[in-house]
Assembly symmetry: C2
């Protein structure tokens, strides 16, 4: 018996999640939903995805020449789970609809923790989402922080974290008439940024302070991190091993020629990934530095992609389809996620 899934909101995250769902052996993608007809809608149809649109949008799609399978309500009637990848705040407004139709829902990081009640990073707290009606996959940055810091906390104990988040200003495929050009914007000026409390929606007791800036780039966030460890290892190799043993973390660096987000893009392209997607958190090998109980490292987070596997695992968790380990294994295999 496969889980029937629908995707509401077919943008940066929604399109990727739909592709990932279509690859899962235990899921069926019933269809996707979109408000406006455009190249993405065409691509969805080309991929064979049934397109469900708001009733008042049907004429616009017909005029564009895209055939529609039904309304959003039609989609909701056919699914067990909705992945709500609508813009920030819209998920909260959609929630009553999911309650009305009795479907489970996966929300994204743009929604507040309270909308779902459970915030989720598969390798950190899969069990917390088991059989719940709602779950929230945290944002790309929070996911990246949780993956590496969760691994470190599990192995060595984390006493304090200071992370500086250097954010790409905009996604590579977005239109923008203003935007961050030739400046570093404090986002916000005050410390901590929202990332620290957001990490604690997953890793409840992690003592972390974050600060964030936006810079004029489009691909990948950069995290410069200092961690105070309770029981530090004696050498950096142990830390590398801890990262490599954890799911969805890879360690790369100067050896492979990766010294910037641009060279990381080159690396991902050579992996043959659709849409330049790096699902894994890339920790820079030569950045990993241990001084007593203080660990320093730098990591790259692909803002469009790292949460995609979490969405798949979140679907399995709330439907109790499988346990953490086998869900992560299936997701990783189907998405060709690197082991280490």
């Amino acid at each position: 018996m496969k889980v029937r899934v629908g995707v509401l909101g077919y943008g940066t995250i929604g399109a990727r999640v739909a592709d990932a769902i279509a690859k899962q052996p235990d899921m069926v993608l019933i269809g996707v939903s979109k408000r406006t007809p455009d190249y993405r809608a065409e691509a969805a149809v080309r991929r064979g995805y049934a397109l469900f649109v708001p009733k008042n949008s049907i004429p616009a799609f017909e005029e564009y020449g895209i055939s529609v399978a039904g309304s959003v309500e039609d989609l909701l009637r056919q699914v067990d789970v909705i992945v709500d990848a609508t813009p920030k705040g819209v998920g909260a407004k959609n929630k009553p609809l999911y309650q009305q139709f009795g479907v489970k829902a996966v929300f994204e990081g743009g929604e507040k923790h309270e909308v779902a009640g459970v915030s989720f990073v598969a390798q950190c707290n899969y069990e917390e989402a088991l059989d719940k009606q709602f779950v929230r996959v945290v944002s790309c940055n929070t996911t990246g922080l949780c993956r590496t810091l969760g691994a470190l906390d599990g192995k060595y104990g984390v006493e304090h974290v200071f992370a500086v988040i250097i954010r790409r200003a905009r996604d590579p495929d977005k239109a923008d008439t203003k935007g961050v050009i030739n400046t570093v914007v404090l986002d916000p000026v005050s410390i901590p940024s929202h990332h620290a409390p957001d990490v604690r929606t997953v890793l409840k007791h992690l003592p972390i302070v974050t600060t964030a800036v936006k810079v004029p780039t489009t691909y990948m966030h950069v995290h410069a991190i200092m961690v105070l460890l309770r029981n530090p290892p004696s050498n950096v190799e142990s830390v590398i091993e801890t990262f490599e043993e954890a799911p969805r973390i890879i360690v790369r660096g100067s050896r492979e020629g990766i010294v910037s987000t641009a060279t990381a893009l080159g690396y991902v392209r050579e992996l043959g990934r659709l849409r330049d997607d790096l699902y894994e958190i890339l920790v820079l090998r030569e950045s990993i530095t241990l001084k007593g109980n203080r660990l320093y490292y730098t990591q790259f987070v692909h803002q469009e992609a790292d949460v995609i596997p979490e969405n798949i695992d979140a679907i399995r968790a709330i439907t109790s389809l499988s346990d953490r380990e086998s869900s992560i294994r299936t997701t990783n295999q189907t998405l060709s996620i690197l082991d280490r």
Copy 2:
């Protein structure tokens, strides 16, 4: 009796130092030296500065139509002090010349500490340079770190610092055919960056780790800093006071509308400063955050300007013209440096 000063290398730093020297009541600018004729050389002549050029460059200047006052050797014969603002590494090559002519010299941060033997930030270690033949003004980033961390160390004691340096990739007025575009470049991947040991050439025992990235901007470096304090104050106001009492540190932020390097540029322009020069380190008020003995803050460093007052004070220190306090006071008054 005024100190006779010459400036060798009339670029980003040299031109600014020359202007600053010309404003000092106890110094005479004998002249400046430049290798190639261009708009800067014209501007120097327009300002009334005598131009001394390498012997083999004299024909090029004459052809350009710029009259030359003499050779570099002619300049060296007339000065007590040379400020060597030549490109990185050239200062070390020039040093034997200064020894031969018996002139004192101020080197810049592009040179190694060993070239001068004393590295200098006026408010941190003025006395160390007194009566020396050579002194090195440290780089813009190191100067920025030393100013605020020196103030904190003097007041509260610093046990550990982690600073993330988000560097502008290029100066606003430089030509570049490649450069950092739409990427964050780790500079370098390994931790620490050279800034940490460089800070310790001035603040000898400061326990500091730094990491640096380059981003596609041209105006100002951004420092995100965490400091572990030995005897922390009870509130942020005390930290603000410590910064404001120290020379060449100003505290600004959202209140004034300064939330990015771009809005900081707007602020500096309204100060009426030539060449958009911010001599002061700008600490962002709302970023100053105290959690127990951990202090977090963000600061802006204008890479072209913050070392200019240090050059003036360095001249006074090595010629024993005055003590620290009166030198800083005179420099600040003549350059209209803000008190707080």
